[in-house]
Symmetry: C2
Subunit: 220 residues, 2 copies
DNA sequence: AAAATAATTTAGACAAATCTAAATCATTAT
DNA sequence: ATAATGATTTAGATTTGTCTAAATTATTTT
């Protein structure tokens, strides 16, 4: 079991995140994601290639190797378990957990993380609804669709929210929408792409396009 | 509120620890304590002096300023709270907590630590019996004496153990001696400096000089 | 297909934290 | 008081991660 620096870990995590969208990640995208310069990215890519954590040929973009993916999932596991801990045990709100977990995730001790997992009751999703990889790096990938794409009158359940700011938290709290809330779309208004939804036992209400594009659901 | 590097924090913590014994700490002692070289210590001392965390004139040793002491106590607070968490919530044993806490202590977020403190019920001592500084850096300094110096037939309570290895843990577990155990010395044997003690409601038994010199107690 | 533009890499520099080896200062013993 | 010894500092090098500016490669446009 090799250990990686905080910097290496942040690069791996970012590549994993971006890799979802495209097959290969570009230097500029990664620089943007990590708030750094393209030249720094190139330097690090050489290093991670030498450690066999990613495939990389100059000018051709890069993608994680199987080993790189395993390492990235380990980091994501740590991050999301700490987020769960912070929200569940220390009463942190949604928008506060990420920043603290960014630091805690780099404390890499298998026993610590596995015991924390057990202590928390083996949670399967973090406070934003994102799945937590298990001890073996397995992660539930439920087929999630954007609320804005949900067909009319089909029931779905909120599984995640792609924006983690306090602004959206405030709005969701006000509307009593949480991870796990069941809802259905009653009507769409093409004027502004707003939609009327019914959530839980509440009366129907409308939400904006910005909001519906941020909420992800799955069918139940 | 300034942030310090992991390295700076480790130096400050080590100086605080050594400072207890002598008024001023020497380059070699600190190098020994941190498993590094004297030249590295001198470099860091210049840096910490520039940051007004310690008093230092070349060749004269060094000691923490008021600010340096405050920072050191903050690190010790974090370390000991995490040790308590690991032992109490994650079922780590005594000898396992230190190493993990060495990493966790460098995650510096006031809200995290204060909430953790609250969650743990504001513990006053860590699993080895060492006092935990509170939010303001105040720490209970009970007058502790070495068990080997305890007068005959006076009752005392175990408050800490200066060795944190698994070997001593095994022995103490076997003898049912823990932090908080009440005991008294019945007899001393000058042949090998062993002593007969009575702990709790157990029958009296003898302990070696090595052990009695490692256990610290206070009168009750 | 060549020119213009965008993306990426290279070259060279810097700060932090460390090291070794040499030089300097302080202390101790004669 | 001076030589020997030990402690400490300085000088110069190394590694990691970063940067800027210049050079190179890829892509797009005409």
């Amino acid at each position: 079991m090799v250990n990686y620096s905080t910097s290496e870990e942040n690069y791996l995590k970012a590549i994993y995140r971006l890799n979802g969208a495209e097959a290969t990640v570009s230097t500029n995208d990664l620089a943007q994601e990590l708030q750094t310069k393209p030249a720094s990215v190139t330097d690090m890519m050489k290093k991670l290639k030498a450690k066999k954590l990613l495939h990389y040929q100059p000018y051709q973009g890069f993608r994680l190797t199987a080993e790189g993916t395993k390492v990235a999932l380990g980091i994501i596991r740590r991050h999301r378990l700490w987020e769960f801990f912070l929200a569940e045990k220390l009463r942190f709100t949604w928008d506060e957990v990420h920043e603290v977990a960014e630091d805690l995730e780099h404390v890499c001790n298998k026993k610590l993380i596995d015991r924390l997992d057990e202590y928390l009751g083996f949670p399967r999703v973090d406070p934003h609804g994102d799945p937590i990889p298990d001890m073996n790096g397995k992660m539930e990938v439920s087929k999630k669709i954007c609320l804005s794409d949900l067909p009319l009158n089909s029931t779905a359940q909120v599984i995640s929210v792609s924006d983690h700011s306090s602004d959206i938290l405030e709005l969701l709290e006000h509307m009593h929408i949480h991870i796990g809330t069941r809802l259905e779309v009653r009507k769409r208004f093409s004027f502004d792409d707003s939609m009327e939804i019914k959530a839980g036992r509440q009366a129907a209400f409308t939400i904006s396009r910005q909001l519906s594009e941020t909420i992800f659901v799955h069918f139940v």
